[in-house]
């Protein structure tokens, strides 16, 4: 395939930067005035984060297959471990490090 020129590559990257910044700045441009954002937007601002955190967990697991390979067992065990550890000690760093080490040990040595 014909490869792009440097200028074309720069344009593609610039376009991606532009699109990214649009998604980050748009809400602030629309609701930046002196008057507060509409109630509906304020409601979304409060209701969305918990939903988004759920979405991000699923997003991290999107490529895990339940039906083939290891049947998501390393992931499920490690997540259960993270939850148990966090409920027990409630130390964010400890839960994250513990869960990661658990996962690495599982996929490197067990599965």
């Amino acid at each position: 395939m014909e490869s792009m020129t440097i200028l074309q590559q720069v344009i593609i990257i610039a376009v991606c930067i532009l699109a990214t910044m649009l998604t980050r700045f748009l809400p602030f441009f629309i609701f930046s005035g002196k008057k507060p954002a509409p109630h509906y937007i304020q409601y979304l601002g409060k209701a969305l984060p918990a939903a988004v955190f759920g979405m991000l967990v699923i997003y991290c697991l999107k490529d895990v297959s339940i039906f083939t390979g290891m049947h998501a067992l390393p992931e499920l065990i490690s997540i259960a471990f993270v939850i148990a550890l966090h409920l027990w000690k409630r130390q964010m760093l400890l839960s994250i490090a513990g869960g990661t080490v658990c996962y690495m040990l599982l996929i490197q040595f067990v599965f």
Binding site: C16, L56, I83
Partner: protein
């Protein structure tokens, strides 16, 4: 693998000690209140970013190496990590750069991959108020990880919130930038058995989800988030489920606004 993990956790501790040392040395003579505020916020923010350091260095190195083996100089991951600062899109851009020149397609794909930032912005409208010159940077650097930490962290009363949010964003930005650039520079020289280290991000979002769950009184929106994402993942598959998830979430939250608002219990 243990070696890399130890290295990943070791470096920030050393850096932190060094910073602490410099801080105490300086602290005595010129402690203008603004400097003091910034310093205090950095100390409060840094521990929250340690898992991100591990995750971003792992992913950043991987990304840089991927760029390197795809035939790009380290300048590409360097500038893209600095100016886009969005991991998933940056991986996609590699394919866009290797394909035919199509800016419109690139724009559409970038918008779709990054659309979730709209949600973050809506949730941060209030929190970013009154942060002055830091505000544009906070918005510019609002990735998944910065948003999650800023939204859930318990910022101590005596710590300036603007500075705290600034440091979380700047540290994360720096981790991603340095990891990606190093990956691009060192290319295939790196050989660690880091299989599975990427789970650090899953573990982090699980903990953040759990923290939010324990803080809120009602769990409707958390469950809706999990449910919609799972359903869309099953229906649309791993590469196309984010947009349907976001659309369906907006729809469900809009339809159920009355009962959800009535139940209350937001954090």
């Amino acid at each position: 693998m243990v070696y890399f993990y130890a290295a990943a956790m070791d470096i920030p501790i050393k850096e932190c000690l060094l910073l602490l040392y410099i801080g105490t040395e300086r602290g005595t003579d010129d402690m203008s209140s603004s400097k003091h505020k910034a310093w205090r916020a950095l100390k409060a923010a840094f521990p929250y970013t340690i898992p991100i350091f591990a995750g971003f260095w792992f992913l950043g190195l991987t990304y840089g190496i991927y760029m390197h083996v795809s035939g790009f100089s380290f300048l590409y991951p360097m500038f893209m990590s600095l100016l886009i600062f969005g991991g998933s899109l940056e991986f996609v851009v590699v394919n866009l750069l290797l394909g035919a020149f199509d800016p419109l397609q690139a724009f559409t794909i970038a918008l779709m991959v990054q659309a979730r930032h709209l949600f973050y912005g809506i949730s941060m409208l209030d929190r970013f108020k009154g942060t002055g010159w830091k505000k544009p940077y906070l918005i510019f650097g609002m990735c998944d990880e910065s948003f999650s930490i800023i939204y859930t962290a318990k910022i101590p009363e005596d710590v300036d919130k603007g500075w705290f949010m600034f440091w979380v964003t700047a540290l994360n930005h720096f981790y991603w930038f340095s990891g990606s650039t190093l990956g691009g520079l060192l290319g295939s020289l790196l050989k660690f058995n880091t299989t599975g280290l990427e789970f650090v991000m899953t573990a982090m979002f699980t903990v953040i989800f759990l923290e939010q769950w324990m803080k809120e009184k009602k769990h409707y929106t958390a469950l809706l988030g999990l449910g919609c994402s799972l359903l869309c993942l099953i229906l649309f598959g791993a590469s196309d489920f984010m947009i349907p998830t976001m659309v369906s979430l907006l729809g469900v939250l809009t339809v159920l606004r009355r009962p959800i608002e009535k139940a209350g219990g937001f954090v």
